[in-house]
Symmetry: C2
DNA sequence: TACTCATTCAACCATTTGGTAGAATGATTA
DNA sequence: TAATCATTCTACCAAATGGTTGAATGAGTA
């Protein structure tokens, strides 16, 4: 929990998540989208890995990175619970997210 | 977004949220639940306020703190979207949270 | 085997963070 | 008005964070 929220508190790490949501990648593939060094990026990836937000699979020379989502979900449940007013608006949220996904598939 | 996630990344601040979820309180009422100084607590409250997670209402000598939930919700939508596999499990999540709430009302 | 490529480790630095303590502010109470 | 109460402001400090560079590692490739 601690690890998940602090992992999410950095712009670069949220961007990594967004990119991995589009497609699994290696560190160097990701690096093209950032203006920081790959060593810095490697550190961010390690943090996301330790928060169990992403998985790393060794593929010979490369490491294939992919989203896990499990830890995100746990943190989300915490938030959903404490954002108190979810009760009336949960259905709306669901619709909204489903719409966002179909937009995604259209692009 | 930035502010919300980094606000949530601290244990004490999450505990503030949990306490305010039970009931609106003042700084000194909260202070009883923590082992840090009230100055430190005041800083945490300021951070939660700036992230628009809590509201502060001046009541004479006191400041009444309450949960806002709005910012939490926005962050939650981000997470829901990127935890990718929400699709199959969204209904389960809803049920789970509703159960949690009825537990809450029972206690 | 020597070389290159992808990634990580190590040392370092500036900034931010979370805590402290003392002083200041602003409203209430004696 | 003076004293008290709740909260915030102002330094100040140690530890954590996010970045850098250079060297090391470990797996393919020439």
């Amino acid at each position: 929990m601690e690890k998940v929220f602090s992992a999410l508190s950095d712009v670069n790490r949220r961007k990594i998540i967004e990119l991995l949501h589009e497609q699994d990648s290696t560190l160097l593939e990701l690096a093209g989208h950032f203006s920081i060094s790959f060593q810095a990026l490697s550190k961010h990836i390690k943090i996301l890995e330790q928060a169990q937000i992403i998985n790393k699979e060794v593929k010979g020379k490369y490491r294939q990175l992919s989203l896990n989502g499990h830890a995100l979900r746990e943190a989300m449940e915490w938030m959903a619970y404490y954002s108190s007013f979810w009760n009336e608006s949960f259905d709306k949220l669901e619709v909204q997210i489903r719409n966002a996904q179909s937009d995604d598939h259209r692009n």
